[in-house]
Amino acid sequence: MISLKRSLRRSEPYVAGAILLLSILIQVRSGQFFTGNNLVDLARSMVVPALFSIGAMMVIVSGGIDVSFPAIASLAMYITDRVLLSSNYSGPVILAYAMAAGLGLVMGAINGILIAGFRLPTMVVTLGTSSLFIGFMQGVLAASETPVPPSMLAHGKEKLFSAYNAQLGLSSDMPAQILILLGALVLVFLILRYTMLGRGIYAIGGDETSAQRTGFNVAKIKMFIYCFTGALAGVTGVVRASMMMNAHPTNLLGMEMTVIAAVVLGGTRVSGGVGTLTGTTLGVALLTILSNSLILIGIPTFWSRVFTGAVIVVGTGVTAWQAISRQRRVAARRTA
């Protein structure tokens, strides 16, 4: 009973409910939601935003905010791509991932040094480094679209299985890259839940001074967060380029706000300390389903932004309203 009450205080059930409602709406309007190929398509669309959201969520939980991950992903991916192309690399794709992760880690470390070492405000730092990375990529490297090396191309074509829709005769491939997402989810879940490092991330987000006193090495934990999210962003960049079979330097830019919105929508507290991977994934799922189903619902292209905007406003409104009334209930309960 207590645990039921407690779970109703979380936002995951509400986001899950919203997803269910939306799914039913899509199913009714198109008859094509609960089909294998559609679900595979959605899973595929989720890969990149979900990978980003993992890092964004870790940062927000620790009490910061990071807007530099699309820039890190783009720059890491672009440098990797160019280096591998120019050296005519044809070995396994793992090198691309390792390189991009390494580059991302270095860029994340720059964020980390400024944030953990100099204790500078996270949003300002990441806005600044984001500008730097983009400027470096487009100014110094004069980045433009390039093809990807053969290993990434082959990797982009790898599929786990195909979902076949007999009714329409359509099939959809589950991209291999979803394994990277699942791997990242499991890894981060384990880190957050079962390591002191992970608990430290929550602790810092709850109260940084207390964390210091309790014995957490706050600077080290922060350094880890930004390095890790940087590396993850680098990997995400390569995932995107291989899935698109094309290295597009600016394609990911501008995603930061939507990803952060998804993370917050999934119940992560903007002020830090609270947030779950389940909620985050649900938040991403909701926004991905939304943006990939407007045609299925039958919303004309001209209306798509109105609809998306309205759903964000209404969706977050409901969650926020629920939080407000929860606060009231808590106040009453405390006195009872």
Partner: protein, 347 residues
């Protein structure tokens, strides 16, 4: 006595972070100015170049002021560009309907006033919607305004089908592009007036003080009897209003209105606000700083356009670098001050 004096001085320095930041920004502005002057004196110092800068900065400068206001309450307004375009489109739709190009100026003039009022009213309404979501429903501002940005752009696309609204009466852009003494653009004068008005509002009015206090601690604000919801609401309404002025300026400069003009301005305005010293957590920030940041950005981008072979993307590098340098110098100066104080004591 000496001891307490010292602590007083230290504390006084603490008390006016905004002023110090404004001074540092001013130094930076001078540096950027001198740098550009030194590198390309023949081009940079032309009056036409200054005129060009003054014509470019108002449209995003005014939106940056709007975003800054929202940030001072601890929020953010990502819907400024959407609001600006929707306001401009509303005015443009009206003008094209009642006074298409070619209508005699005498007939256009009164309609212009109505059109301007329509735009401003649209801005107010957009701000009111964002404001309601943030203040009454308590949606985090970043989400609420991300939603309304989509919504406003969406509505703009629906009513225009994405096409530019261009057959505007010429009188509009003639007035909009009027230059005092053939040098100071009307839009720049408007920007100065807006900055002055908002600056005065923040520093001298009850509402301004309430914005700072609410941004510092909303719970304490509630216990102090401030109408938190009302203040937040008004902040976003003001931001919406300012955006609609920006929208009109864009409309005059482009002589048309369209759903996606200036989409890239949003992040630029956030950057301007932050370099201008506005605390993204709320409570602190000065319009003077924001104005200086706008000038710095403009000199940088105009400056880079003087170099044929330097890509505009270097602006991003300089900008990001400047942001981080300012932070680091703040950090360094604070530390040095501490050290010097210690040295003085032990000496």
């Amino acid at each position: 006595m000496a001891k307490s004096n010292l602590s007083l001085k230290n504390a006084a320095r603490q008390s006016a972070p905004g002023d110090r930041n404004v001074f540092r920004l001013f130094v930076m502005l001078v540096l950027v100015f001198v740098l550009m002057m030194a590198l390309r004196p023949s081009i940079f110092l032309r009056p036409a170049n200054f005129n060009s800068m003054m014509r470019q900065l108002p449209e995003y400068g005014i939106m940056a002021i709007g975003i800054s206001l929202a940030m001072m309450t601890g929020g953010i307004d990502l819907a400024v560009v959407g609001t600006a375009n929707l306001s401009a489109i509303a005015a443009a739709k009206f003008l094209i309907a009642v006074a298409p190009r070619g209508t005699p100026n005498e007939q256009v003039a009164p309609m212009l006033i109505v059109a301007v009022l329509i735009a401003l009213a649209t801005g107010l309404a957009c701000g009111a919607l964002s404001g309601t979501l943030v203040s009454k429903l308590g949606i985090p501002a970043i989400l609420a305004t991300l939603g309304t940005q989509q919504l406003f752009t969406g509505i703009a696309i629906v009513i225009t089908e994405g096409r530019p609204q261009s057959k505007l009466p010429l009188l509009f852009s003639q007035i909009g592009n009027f230059e005092f003494f053939d040098f100071f653009p009307l839009s720049f004068v408007l920007f100065c007036l807006v900055a002055l008005a908002v600056g005065i509002m923040l520093e001298r009015s009850k509402f301004g003080l309430e914005v700072y206090m609410l941004g510092t601690n909303s719970k304490a604000a509630r216990y102090a009897g401030l109408n938190n919801a009302g203040i937040l609401f008004r902040t976003y309404v003001v931001s919406g209003f300012l955006s609609s002025i920006s929208g009109l300026i864009m409309m005059a400069r482009a002589n048309s209105a369209k759903a996606d003009y200036g989409a890239a301005y949003t992040m630029q305005c956030v950057l301007v606000a932050i370099l201008g010293g506005v605390d993204p957590n709320g409570g602190f920030g000065k319009i003077g700083g924001v104005v200086l940041a706008v000038f710095i950005l403009q000199i940088l981008s105009t400056g880079l356009n003087m170099f044929e072979n330097v890509s505009n993307f270097y602006r991003d590098i300089i900008w990001g670098g400047a942001l981080i340098l300012v932070l680091l110098s703040n950090w360094y100066l604070a530390r040095r001050k501490e050290r010097m104080a210690l040295a003085r004591k032990t000496a």
